[in-house]
Symmetry: C2
Subunit: 225 residues, 2 copies
DNA sequence: CGGGCCTTTGATTCGCCTCAACGGAGGTGG
DNA sequence: CCACCTCCGTTGAGGCGAATCAAAGGCCCG
């Protein structure tokens, strides 16, 4: 098993603010885990009792609504922490986490990391900044959901995914999402999302290579009304 | 001017975790301010450079969308802190704060409070818990916006306001909001909100006393589909 | 080759937005 | 004191966008 103090992935998240001593202690009690595409990491209402450091792969955080649809609230990629919120308030998760591709994660038990949170101000300040960023993004999502059309939201989601998670060498989006996933991000019916996507294709804004989507005209997407 | 270390309002927010010494230091540099109903406390894009402690009154946090409507994201009442997020990331505000009634606030400059955030782990942990709660609520709002009808969202908003902010002695909601405010919380047109409210009235779920709203049948509201 | 699953397209229905007109409350000036 | 204005609340009619229901075409896999 790898050692946290030597792990490069921590450079991308708040764990970088821990001291070598703290990292060594965490390294001793962490567990590593491989998660297959489609597997549920934790469910809504489940007690997580720790935090996951994502070493590789991508997952979606979603919440089931009463009508049976599952709204994607956020995506967590390689380098980020998963389960921060539950770690802090000690409550069970209000979201479900599902792997979008094969993942490798390290699990750090709550009891260990909470010590550092309460004793290392630099670390907790870093976590604070993470959460502040999440909160700001969540506010933006709320406004978009409330005020924009499905067409606009889908265009913005494509741009967001493009800018945040990048592209493969052939220009396709690096994250492979089903049409249903797109619908669940935008908060619409699958058929509606499909319709809008095929309209984008007709308009030359995107092309598809198999199931992959490639953005051809990002400026055009930005101008979508 | 009052002294922070003797102020009772701090019991309701993270400032309670500061030591007497820290409070005395803050007390010296804080400024008190009266804000009239309708007045804008800070605008979107404005640098706040500090945090407000709300001693009395209520305000709304909203964000202007491109179509000119202003989406209410959160309400902040007596006892809570205002501007936490900007305080932490040091960025300008992404929201506008507007007083819903006459308010009394204390402003604490960023330079002072940030010291405590970085040196007092109990304090920063408290702030973390606040933000975790905000984030959870924001996630719920996202799901509601995406998946529920205007009718359901309005019913839930009424329940939320009732449960969170309480009622006056006559049973009316303690916060007086215009129909437009309700529309801006739910993310709909003013006329739509009005229509739904009058339907609720017909169904005996609410009554109105002047501009005040009184919930008559909260269980009925919960069952709204 | 057949059976799923995902994707696509069509047709219909329904919710909500928009525009428009009207009534009442409160404030202002003659 | 009344006429006027403006803001807010209310109601109606029309139209658009999205949900829903239904069905057909590709693709993977046994």
């Amino acid at each position: 098993m790898g050692k946290c103090e030597q792990c490069i992935i921590k450079q991308f998240n708040s764990l970088k603010s821990l001291t070598t001593d703290e990292l060594m202690r965490i390294s001793k009690c962490k567990t590593s885990r491989i998660i297959k595409k489609g597997e549920v990491i934790f469910e809504e209402g489940e007690s997580i009792n720790g935090v996951y450091c994502v070493k590789d792969g991508i997952c979606k955080l979603s919440k089931l609504s009463e009508n049976g649809k599952d709204q994607i609230v956020k995506m967590v990629v390689k380098g980020q922490l998963l389960g921060q919120r539950s770690l802090i308030n000690g409550e069970s998760s209000n979201l479900q986490a599902t792997a979008l591709n094969d993942m490798e994660v390290c699990f750090i038990p709550r009891s260990e990391i909470i010590k550092d949170l309460q004793s290392n101000p630099k670390f907790s300040f870093d976590v604070l900044q993470d959460m502040a960023k999440d909160l700001k993004e969540a506010d933006d999502v709320i406004v978009n959901m409330a005020q924009k059309s499905v067409r606009q939201r889908l265009a913005e989601s494509l741009i967001y995914i493009h800018d945040t998670f990048g592209t493969n060498p052939d220009g396709t989006l690096s994250i492979l999402l089903s049409r249903e996933d797109f619908a669940n991000i935008v908060g619409t019916a699958t058929e509606s999302a499909i319709r809008v996507l095929s309209q984008f294709k007709k308009d030359g804004l995107i092309t598809t290579i198999g199931k992959q989507i490639k953005i051809e005209n990002i400026e055009g997407l930005r101008r979508v009304e």
